[in-house]
Symmetry: C2
Subunit: 527 residues, 2 copies
C-alpha cells in the first residue's frame, strides 16, 4: 500500500525503511502536493556513507573520460526532459516557468555539467606538476570519501544537490556524491536524480557514485557530516543551518564549503546619483525583483549620501517597487522568515518607507519593502542592521558626510558581492579610492556600475567571499575549473615508478594537449 | 635595570609592558641561557592585531616588486649572518651546527625566501583569469588582515615564524605577519627578526608588515586567533596544541593551516625485504636518526610480513640504532613527551625490542627505541597504537598474512607521507595494487623505495595530507607557488574600470611574460 517514493542508494532505487514521511506544498495555493517522501533514518545515512567510501576507492583510479561521459549524459537527459522538470519545479517553488526555470536556470544547469565534463576531458584542473630531476610529481586528486551536497530552496535546478554546481564540481574531481534534496522540492530532485542514475548506469559508473535522499532530522544530518566516510560537504542556504553544519564538520576536520547569507552592499556615489539616479533606481528595482528577491546576490543594503538627487533616486526606487505586483515566494516559511527579518531591522532602528507586511491570501507573498536608516544610526548598531532580509527588501543607508561611506564599508561583514556606482568624475574617483580599500577586502566580487544579481558561469568569476558569506575565502562555488578545487586533495608521488603513477603524471602527456608544469615551465610537451 | 629583550611591534623594536618573562635552556647542559624575554600580554597582542590590519590595507595595493625586494633582502641578511644565527640556534636547540644548521637548514631557509620572491616577481601564483567578453576578471589577493605564524621547536630556521616557509608564503601573498617565536629558541628568533625588520625598513614596507613576539599564555594565544583582524594562521607543532588553536579559529571562520603529528607509515613488501633488507634497514636507521628523530616526516610505523628475511631486517635495524650514540634532543620536555608516548604504546600492547628509557646525565637524551606488535594486535587497537613517538622511536607491525598489509593501511589516520618498498616483482606489484588503493587516500606524499625524511623545497612536492596530519587536504606547506595559496583570497572584478583594476588584471600583461587565462586559454599575450 505504500506510495512513498524510493531513495537512490548503492546503485539502485530502493524503499527507505523509515516510516516517517513528508510532502511538498504548492506555495502559490498553500495546497499539499501529491506524493510522500521518506525522512531517512540514521541507518540509511550510515549505509550510504559506507557505499560512498567503497565507490571512492574505485573512482580514485577510474578513467576521467568515463566521468566526463557521465556528466555529459546527465546533462543530455536533463535537456531532453527540461519541460517536465521545469513544470515540476514551478509547482513546487512558485518560480516562473519561462524564462526562469525552463530556459535560464535549466540552461545554466546543463551548461555547468557540460563545462565540468570539458574540464575533466582537458585534465588541466589537476594542476599536474613534474620535476624530473628530483622525480617529484603532484596533482589534485579525489578526496577519498563521499561528498555530501546539500541544495538550497531557491535554485531547484542550478544548485540542486544531484545536478547543480556543487554536484558537478565534486563529481568532476571523481568523488562519489551523497545528495540531500531540499524538502521544499522533492519531486524536482527526484526527476533530476533519475537523470543522474540513468546516466551513471549507461556510462558504467561504480555503484554508489550517485546516491540521493530527500530529508532527515537535523541531528542525523550532523551525524552524517561527522562520519569518517564523508570527505567534504557543500551547502548553500541559511547562515544558521550552515554554521551548525560547519561546527559538526570542524570537529572531524572535514572541509565545509558554505554559501551563506549575503546582503550585497551597493554604494552609490554622489556623482553617479546626480548623473543617472533614475537609471540606477530602475536597475536596482529589477535586480531586487528577480526571483522575488530570493537570490544570494540580491541587493540588500544600499548606501548613498544625503542630497536632493538621492531623495529623487529613492523616490524612483520606491515607485518601481510599489508598482510591481509581489510574486509568489518559495514557501510560507520563507514569508515568515522575511517578515521576522524586516521587523527585526525596524526594531533595531530602521524606518519603513514601503512594505513590511505579508500579503493576504493563500499564496506565499510579501509586500515589496524598503527600509531606511541614517549612516550614523547604522554605525551605532551595524551588527544587527546587517540582518539579511531574504526577499524583495532592502535597507537604504543615508550618509550625511561622504566619509561615512568608508566608515560603513569598514563595518561590513563578509559578503559575496559589493557594488560601486560612480560617474568617473574626479570627486567620485577620490571617494572610490578610499572606499575600495575597505570594501575590496570584504567582498568576493566587486562590481562597477551594475547590479549583483546575474552570476555568470565563467572561468573568471568568483562566487565566494570572506566568512560568514562563505566558509573559506580562497574558493569559489561557481566557475570551472576553479570550483572543482574545493573537492580535491593535493597529492604527491616521490620516486614512484611509472607503472604506479596516474596517467596525468607520467612522462608522456596523456592527451598531448594538457598543460602541465614540467621542470619549471608550463608546457604541453612530454616530461 | 630591565634587560628584557624588546619585541617587534608597529614597525619598531619596543619594550613589552608585560612584567612576566622567560628564558631559554641549553638542552645539552640543562643550564639557563642568558637573556630574559617577555611573555606578552593580551593588550600587546591586541595592539599588534590592530597594526596588522592597518598594514593589510596598505599592502593590498602595494607593488609586488617591493615585496619581492623585501624577501630577497631578508634572505641576504640571513645569509650574511648565517654563522652567528646557526651558533645561537645550536645553543638553544642542541641541533648540530654543521651541516644541519649552518648549511642544510640555513640554505633551505634562504632558498625558500628567494623562491617566494621569484614567485612574487613572476606573478603567476595569482592565477589571473580574464574574460573580455563578460568583462570578468579574477585573481588571488591578500586575505585582508594579519596572518599569525607560529613556528615549531624542531626547525628553528626553516620553519621559524619570522623567516620560515609559512612566513615566506604569507608575505608573498602580501599579508602582514604577526610571528610568534617558539619559546625554546627566542634568541634565534630575535636574530632572524632583526634581519626581517632591517629588510622591511630598507625596502620601505609599511609599518606593521612584520611584527614578532616571543611568548604568551595559551589563553591569550587563542584570543589572538579569534580577533577579527587576524585573517589566517599557520601552525606547525603538536596535535594537542594545534587542535586547540583550530577550534578557536573555527569559531570565527578563520582559515587554520596546521601541520600536526604524522607517523609516516612504511610498508616493506616481502620481495623488497628479501632482495635488499639490509639496505632498507640502513636507510630507515639513517632516516630515524636524522635530527634525533625530531622531524615531522620521521618513520614511526614500519609494516612488514612475518618471515626469516624480515627478522634479519629487524635485527639489522636494531643493530644500527643500538650502535649509534643518542644525540641531545631539543628539550628535556621533549624527552619526557617521547617517554610518555613510548610507555603508552607499550601499555597498549607493543613489545620493546630496544630502548624505552631516558638517558642519564644533564643532557636531554633518550635511548633509541624500537617497539614491535603483531598486525592482529595492531588492528584490534589501531587508534591507540598510532600515537606518535617524536624522537628516534618506531613501532614495527608484523603481518602474518599479506592481506593484513591492506587492513593496516585501511585503519591509518591521515599522514604527511606513506612509503612502499617493493622489488618490482609480480608478487610485490600485486600486493602494491591492493595496498595503494587504501594508502594513497591517507597520505599527502607517496614514496617508492625511499625514506620519508628529506623534504625537497620544490614546486612539485606536497607537504600536506588528510586530517589530522594537517587541517585541510587541499594545500601544501612546502613548495612554491602552491604553498602561497593558503594565505590568499580569491577575488573577482566585474565590469570594473581599468583604472581600478590591479595591474595583473588589466588588459596589458604587466610583465609581458605572466601566464594568464585569457578568454579560455593560458597565454602571455595582452587581453
Amino acid at each position: 500500500m505504500s506510495t512513498t517514493h524510493p531513495i537512490l542508494i548503492a546503485g539502485s532505487w530502493a524503499e527507505d525503511p523509515s516510516s516517517e514521511t513528508f510532502s511538498a506544498t504548492n506555495p502559490a495555493t498553500g495546497e499539499k502536493l501529491e506524493g510522500a517522501y521518506p525522512v531517512s533514518s540514521r541507518q540509511t545515512l550510515e549505509r550510504m556513507a559506507r557505499c560512498s567510501a567503497e565507490a571512492a576507492s574505485e573512482l580514485n583510479t577510474l578513467d576521467p573520460q568515463r566521468v566526463a561521459a557521465f556528466l555529459d549524459s546527465h546533462a543530455s537527459l536533463i535537456d531532453e526532459r527540461r519541460k517536465s522538470i521545469a513544470e515540476m519545479a514551478h509547482l513546487e517553488t512558485g518560480l516562473e516557468i519561462s524564462p526562469r526555470l525552463m530556459e535560464s536556470e535549466m540552461d545554466r544547469t546543463i551548461d555547468q555539467l557540460r563545462q565540468a565534463a570539458g574540464c575533466v576531458r582537458s585534465g588541466e584542473w589537476v594542476s599536474a606538476r613534474i620535476d624530473t630531476d628530483k622525480n617529484l610529481r603532484s596533482m589534485y586528486e579525489p578526496l577519498g570519501g563521499g561528498v555530501l551536497t546539500i541544495g538550497p530552496n531557491n535554485f531547484p535546478l542550478a544548485y540542486n544537490a544531484i545536478a547543480g554546481g556543487d554536484f558537478a564540481a565534486a563529481i568532476a574531481a571523481r568523488n562519489p556524491i551523497i545528495a540531500k534534496g531540499h524538502p521544499l522540492h522533492p519531486a524536482t530532485t527526484r526527476l533530476l536524480a533519475e537523470c543522474a542514475h540513468e546516466a551513471a548506469k549507461s556510462t558504467g559508473m561504480p555503484d554508489g557514485t550517485v546516491q540521493m535522499f530527500y530529508h532527515c532530522s537535523p541531528e542525523d544530518g550532523l551525524t552524517l557530516i561527522r562520519m569518517p566516510e564523508i570527505s567534504a560537504f557543500g551547502f548553500t542556504g541559511s547562515q544558521k543551518a550552515g554554521l551548525a553544519m560547519k561546527k559538526a564538520a570542524d570537529e572531524t576536520g572535514t572541509p565545509a564549503y558554505l554559501e551563506l547569507s549575503s546582503i550585497n552592499p551597493m554604494f552609490l556615489m554622489p556623482g553617479a546619483v546626480g548623473t543617472r539616479g533614475g537609471d540606477i533606481a530602475q536597475s536596482i528595482a529589477d535586480s531586487m525583483l528577480a526571483a522575488s528577491g530570493q537570490q544570494c546576490t540580491c541587493p540588500g543594503l544600499i548606501v548613498l549620501s544625503e542630497s536632493e538627487e538621492s531623495e529623487a533616486m529613492i523616490a524612483r526606487l520606491t515607485q518601481h517597487l510599489s508598482e510591481a505586483e509581489p510574486h509568489v515566494m518559495l514557501s510560507h516559511d520563507g514569508v515568515d522568515s522575511l517578515h521576522d527579518a524586516v521587523l527585526h531591522n525596524i526594531e533595531q532602528g530602521a524606518e519603513r518607507i514601503i512594505g513590511g507586511n505579508p500579503m493576504p491570501g493563500d499564496a506565499a507573498r510579501y509586500e515589496h519593502t524598503l527600509l531606511r536608516v541614517s549612516a550614523s544610526r547604522f554605525l551605532e548598531n551595524h551588527q544587527e542592521l546587517q540582518t539579511e532580509m531574504f526577499g524583495v527588501a532592502a535597507l537604504l543607508v543615508v550618509c550625511d558626510i561622504d566619509d561615512q561611506f568608508v566608515e560603513v564599508a569598514r563595518k561590513l561583514e563578509g559578503n559575496l558581492t559589493g557594488t560601486i556606482h560612480h560617474d568617473g568624475s574626479e570627486q567620485d574617483r577620490a571617494l572610490h579610492a578610499q572606499l575600495v580599500r575597505e570594501l575590496r577586502l570584504r567582498v568576493g566580487r566587486l562590481i562597477h556600475n551594475g547590479v549583483p544579481t546575474g552570476v555568470s558561469v565563467n572561468a573568471a568569476t568568483v562566487h565566494g567571499g570572506p566568512y560568514p558569506a562563505t566558509g573559506h575565502p580562497g574558493f569559489t562555488a561557481v566557475g570551472m575549473p576553479t570550483a572543482i578545487h574545493r573537492f580535491a586533495a593535493l597529492r604527491c608521488y616521490d620516486q614512484v615508478d611509472e607503472w604506479a603513477l596516474p596517467p596525468e603524471l607520467r612522462d608522456k602527456n596523456p592527451t598531448g594537449t594538457m598543460l602541465r608544469y614540467v621542470d619549471q615551465e608550463w608546457t604541453t610537451r612530454d616530461a
